[in-house]
């Protein structure tokens, strides 16, 4: 089943969220991937590398005024789309440029997204050789009558990100440290929404994830892990293990 989405919000959401996913050969579900959940009124995009998690709700066409589904709502379809070489990001970057141009004022720029459709063309020409349920699947992003990008799908589970968001409790840390690498990635994700985008931080404690929100249409929210901080020395802990493994689990 397909969903039609205005190109601007989908492109901003995708390009912003994908900042959280990096090359990770050891965990293919996180390796330059976007986790897509499909609901009746839109898509939720999520990406993570286990240190940074970003998620955006992108409403479908004509559903822009409806509320996003709550965290306990189960999607009726989901797929981990792999975009190792930025092919989808290329299309969406192009669409975002069009969206910002004058053309968007005269033409409806929409994209159609299909989840878990058979790979086209089939890798095995004869349908007789394929077992039902074992055909290669794909996620497609289509600019109708112009271009369609087909992405491989990781056929397996994705980390339970809902639990991570739900477990965040506001707290006031004495001190909190984020690496420059983390701040740069957050900055890159926020700049997709414009140079003046404000990144709102809601702290959860010195050694707990920071809940970040930024951007509009769509708003992106995420969790960023701070460095382990040694309060006694007022310096970064030498290792995460020194402050206890329990800090790894929010």
């Amino acid at each position: 089943m397909s969903v039609t989405i205005p190109a601007g919000p989908l492109a901003r959401g995708w390009l912003s969220v994908r900042t959280a996913s990096v090359k990770d050969a050891g965990r293919p579900q996180l390796d330059r991937s976007i986790y897509i959940e499909q609901f009746g009124q839109g898509l939720r995009l999520t990406a993570a590398d286990s240190y940074l998690l970003l998620s955006a709700w992108v409403p479908a066409l004509h559903h822009e005024l409806e509320a996003a589904p709550s965290d306990d709502e189960i999607p009726y379809a989901a797929a981990v789309a792999l975009d190792p070489y930025g092919r989808a990001a290329g299309l969406l970057g192009h669409m975002l440029a069009l969206w910002k141009s004058d053309e968007a004022k005269t033409v409806d720029l929409n994209l159609v997204v299909h989840l878990n459709v058979p790979w086209q063309p089939a890798e095995i020409p004869s349908a007789e050789l394929q077992l039902d349920g074992f055909a290669a699947l794909a996620v497609t992003i289509e600019h109708p009558d112009h271009e369609r990008v087909q992405l491989e799908v990781y056929e397996g589970d994705y980390p339970d990100t809902r639990r991570l968001f739900a477990s965040h409790k506001p707290g006031r840390p004495d001190v909190l440290a984020l690496t420059g690498h983390m701040l740069a990635r957050l900055g890159k994700a926020a700049k997709v929404h414009g140079d003046g985008t404000v990144v709102h931080h809601r702290f959860g404690g010195a050694l707990k994830p920071v809940l970040v929100t930024f951007g509009e249409e769509p708003e992106v929210r995420g969790l960023a892990m701070p460095c382990a901080w040694d309060l006694a020395r007022d310096a970064p802990a030498v290792s995460a293990r020194e402050v206890g493994d329990e800090v790894c689990v929010p």
């Binding site: 996180l30 290792s239 293990r241």
Partner: protein, 84 residues
């Protein structure tokens, strides 16, 4: 401070186990990758550990330390077991 001294062409590999144990605890802060130690390097046995490594193990050690150093002591949001 713990210092690892990695030599590329050692006569023996007795330090490999020690290096693995130290990396397991992620305590290495400084890495020297050269064939000769600076003057006075061995004067303090409590500070300096000399590790002899050969071939692939030395390369793996450098790679693991490089990864460790790029993310200084940042715990994960979710660990390896939970994302199966």
């Amino acid at each position: 401070m713990t210092v690892l001294h990695v030599l590329d062409n050692p006569p023996e590999a007795t330090g490999a186990g020690l290096a693995e144990a130290m990396l397991g605890e992620a305590r290495a802060e400084v890495v020297w990758v050269n064939a000769t130690a600076p003057a006075g390097f061995y004067d303090d046995p409590e500070v300096v550990r000399l590790v002899w490594l050969i071939g692939d193990l030395a390369a793996q050690l450098r790679g693991r330390l490089a990864n460790h150093n790029t993310r200084p002591a940042t715990p994960r949001l979710f660990d390896q077991e939970e994302d199966r």
